[in-house]
Amino acid sequence: MADSKYITLVSGEGFEFVVLREAALVSPTIKGMLRSQFIEARTGRCTFPEISAHVLEKVVDYFHYWYRTREQEDVPDMEIPPEMCLELLMAAEYFNLDSKNPLRERE
């Protein structure tokens, strides 16, 4: 089965976000999910029961923001509402979105 260009991310509430596969692969977590032989790899559908829709939405925003700007320099910061900071930090940890993350650099 040829991998589709898009994948679907599902929040705990069941909201679905269709994301460009290449953009989502910035997260080692998603990358690992999609390269093994697990159910996510087969279906192209990743469910995150413990992540709420508004956080996942911001994460998806980040994926696309990263994807758009990945070859540019002096990119302006993404806008983050202060009240979401803590939740987003935890999500970043979960998705292994750490710029110093060796898992990201290895690829």
Partner: protein, 822 residues
């Protein structure tokens, strides 16, 4: 603690179940997110270490219960006796089948394990990122993949150890099987290369420890070492076998094939990490180890390759030797020896050709001289010797062509080899003490005889050959002397094409410098000026309106003494007779000479012109009157011929104008009247009285030689079919010098060299003021290298001479040091 445990256990249960599913290839129904989240949570609760240890323990258990048993079963007593005991009696086919079955077992276990561990590592990504990074333990992947090494490869099987009577591990079996398969392939069997490649990839992916240091790959630390060792043994045996077979050509091809095979093997079955190492094993065992023996093989070794122009063999040989020795020492040495031997062979052949005609006495004498070639040759053999000289040059050039071809087709025009060969050529050419003369003779022969009607390309070839040979000569001053002599003859007798001569000299100048060709160029200039001079003089005579009945046409060559060889200038005769032989010219000629002399000195007062009768020639119109009493046939009519004779011949013929019909002159009378040197007169009279075609004088008695007691008369009966007759002038053919001539040439050459050395010494001392004897000698040799190799004794003698003449003085208190005296 219990709280932590209670949080750990449910998550771990999920993971453990998943690990089992992964090993059983049931992963496709598992959710990665679920498993990732389970491990994520465990790590967040600071239970990373526990998770790490639990996973490792799980995997160890799994290995013991599920992975090892099938492998242990494959290590059957049969496999052990085949692989490790190498018991005879098993067919190659059986060994291959058993071995490959074992390897396939290992491969499938490894592939399962590798894939599973990749998946596990993905699930435990968060553990890896946080706990492992902080605790500095090996990554979970390294730790679990390493289990394969510890629990499979390094596993010792008691049952098998008993069979072997020594401890052993599965790894030993694995390597033994792989090496056995490789040897089978070397012997021509087809094996499963892909399987081999997968096994070696496995060994490349495993390390000595879980730290996974680049140089600690099991492939490098264990396998490669044994592979190289086994290969060394294999090729050592093979080399012995090839040596026994005694065919160097087969050896070359075999070695080349082996090198290719091993490279191929590394590309397809092993690892490119080994390519260079196995190549050097093959190089050491098959090339270096017995190189000398192979090269020296009778009938197929290098000598035979060179002699039989086996270019392919030599190409391979060059490639092989280039691999192991950048200086190609072995190849170089044999090449040089071969060049020398073949060069000396040319000389030997020449010697037998040379001495086939003359008396046996000369040969014996020569042998007694220990191969000294410049012995007295009977004059009758002169032509033969000239031919020998040409043959020598041809042979040398042929040899040169041969080695040039080798260099081009086999040795990639290798500079090291080229210069070695060139050196050997120079060496044997210069060991032959007549090389300078022979080279000049070759040029003489080619330009005189060969070039008529030949194309520019042919001329080019000859010129190139001449220059090639010239480059090898060490005693260039000797060559210069010979070339001067031969060139003079060619120019004066109009024997060659002037533009080709000039081209040759131009190339000599480019090769050897101005000083070398100055004299030759002077000669060309003399020739050109003389041509104009002759024409101008002719005009001058015509304008005078001097109606001389006999009207002698004068073509004159005014030669500058220094540019021309002394032989031509008649100076050698001075030494023989103790005085300049001034031959007596007939009055008509004398008038002509005086007239020219007057004309010449009109613009050039103060010059001295000397007539060199020995170098000139003349066209003489002869009238043979009707022979009385003959009414038919050619003798019944008056006959007019034009005779081309040497100047001496002309003088002699003039004498007979005044001799009464039927009267004759004796040799002495002729000599007295003409004052021609006896030797020249013999030749001149010989050419006029012996060959039937130009026998205008009748000799009494009729014989093949001219003696002092002979008498000569006008040959009234002379008949010729052609109007123009050429009396063969013996002296105009360049021939090899006989022993005396040669000694003479060498003596003269040494004289010249003495002056050149003098000049060099003075030049050096003028500049350096003070110098030790050794330094001075070295500098002199250095300065003269382009012209000749001065002998040390000569330099010493010249220095002493200069001391006497007070150009130099000894520095007191120092041994052998000199000071320049201004």
């Amino acid at each position: 603690m219990s709280k932590e445990n209670s949080e750990f256990t449910p998550c771990w249960d999920i993971l453990r179940g998943a690990l089992t599913d992964i090993h059983n290839k049931n992963a496709s129904r598992l959710s990665f997110e679920n498993l990732y989240r389970a491990s994520y949570k465990i790590v967040l609760r600071k239970n990373g270490e526990l998770l790490y240890n639990s996973v490792k323990a799980f995997e160890e258990l799994w290995f013991r219960n599920h992975a090892l048993p099938p492998i242990a079963e494959l290590v059957s007593p049969n496999l052990i006796s085949i692989a490790l005991l190498q018991l005879p009696g098993s067919s190659a086919h059986e060994r291959r089948e058993t071995g490959e079955r074992f390897l396939r077992g290992i491969r499938s276990t490894w592939e399962d394990h590798n894939m599973s561990m990749n998946m596990v590592a993905d699930i435990l990504m968060y553990l890896e990122r946080t706990y492992v990074a902080e605790s500095r333990r090996p990554s979970i992947f390294a730790a679990t993949i390493g289990l394969f090494r510890d629990h499979i490869l390094r596993k010792d099987l008691d049952r098998a150890s008993e069979q072997l009577d020594r401890p052993f591990i599965i790894f030993d079996v694995l390597i033994a099987v792989v090496l056995d398969l490789i040897n089978m392939e070397r012997d021509g069997d087809i094996i499963d290369r892909n399987l081999l490649r997968q096994i070696t990839s496995m060994l490349e992916a495993l390390y000595e420890t879980d730290d996974e240091l680049e140089n600690d790959k099991l492939y490098l630390t264990v396998f490669e070492e044994r592979f190289l060792e086994a290969s060394r043994g294999f090729y050592k045996n093979e080399c012995e076998k090839l040596l026994r077979e005694g065919n160097a050509s087969a050896w070359l091809r075999h070695t080349q094939r082996r090198l290719r095979e091993e490279q191929d093997r590394c590309d397809t079955s092993l690892s490119i990490l080994t390519t260079d190492k196995i190549a050097s094993v093959v190089e050491e065992e098959l090339i270096v180890a017995k190189l000398k023996e192979f090269l020296a093989m009778e009938g197929s070794g290098m000598k035979s390759m060179i002699d039989n122009d086996r270019h392919e063999d030599l190409s391979i040989l060059y490639q092989l030797i280039s691999r192991v020795d950048k200086t190609k020492h072995a190849l170089k040495t044999i090449l040089q020896i071969r060049v020398m031997d073949l060069g000396l062979e040319i000389e030997q052949t020449l010697k037998s050709t040379d001495f086939s005609a003359p008396a046996a006495g000369a040969e014996a004498e020569d042998a007694a001289e220990g191969g000294e070639k410049s012995k007295v040759q009977p004059l009758s053999a002169a032509a033969q010797q000239t031919a020998a000289a040409i043959k020598w040059v041809d042979d040398v050039l042929q040899l040169k062509d041969k080695f040039d071809t080798l260099s081009k087709t086999c040795f990639n025009e290798d500079l090291v080899l080229q210069s070695a060969v060139t050196k050997s050529f120079a060496e044997f050419i210069n060991m032959f003490n007549r090389s300078s003369e022979f080279v000049s003779l070759f040029i003489d022969d080619s330009l005189k005889r060969g070039l008529k009607g030949k194309s520019d390309e042919d001329v080019e070839v000859v010129l190139q050959k001449a220059i090639v040979l010239l480059r090898y000569l060490a005693d260039r001053d000797m060559f210069e002397r010979y070339h001067q002599k031969h060139l003079a003859r060619r120019l004066l007798h109009n024997k060659s094409e002037i533009h080709i001569e000039k081209e040759l000299v131009r190339r000599m100048r480019a090769e050897l410098g101005n000083h070398f060709t100055a004299k030759f160029e002077g000669m060309f200039k003399d020739m050109e000026l003389s041509k104009d001079l002759s024409e101008n003089y002719r005009d001058h005579v015509r304008n005078l309106g001097d109606a001389d009945a006999k009207n002698i046409d004068l073509g004159i060559h005014v030669l500058t003494t220094n540019n021309w060889p002394p032989e031509v200038m008649g100076r050698s005769a001075v030494q023989e007779d103790g005085g300049r032989p001034d031959c007596t010219f007939p009055p008509a000629i004398k008038r002509l000479q005086e007239s020219f002399f007057k004309y010449y000195l009109k613009d050039r007062s103060g010059r001295v012109l000397t007539w060199v009768a020995s170098a000139g020639s003349a066209d003489v119109k002869c009238v043979f009157p009707k022979v009385p009493g003959k009414e038919s046939g050619p003798l019944s009519k008056e006959r007019r011929y034009e005779l081309n004779v040497s100047t001496y011949g002309m003088i002699v013929l003039e004498l007979f104008n005044d001799v009464a019909d039927g009267a004759s002159l004796s040799f002495e009378e002729i000599q007295a009247k003409t004052n021609i040197p006896a030797q020249d007169l013999v030749r001149t009279l010989g050419s006029l009285s012996i060959p039937p075609k130009s026998r205008v004088l009748a000799k009494e008695p009729m014989s093949k030689n001219v003696k002092a007691t002979d008498r000569f008369a006008f040959n009234a009966q002379f008949v010729s079919k052609t109007i123009k007759i050429k009396a063969p002038v013996i002296s105009s053919t360049s021939k090899v010098e006989d022993g005396d001539e040669r000694k003479e040439t060498e003596r003269k050459n040494d004289q010249t060299r003495a002056h050149v050395v003098d000049a060099a010494v003075v030049r050096i001392m003028k500049q350096r003021k003070e110098l030790s004897h050794t330094q001075l000698t070295t500098e002199v040799i250095g300065q003269l290298a382009g012209r000749f190799k001065p002998e040390i004794a000569m330099i010493k003698k010249r220095i002493e001479d200069l001391l006497v003449r007070e150009y130099l003085e000894r520095i007191e208190g120092e041994t052998a040091a000199y000071r320049y005296l201004a």
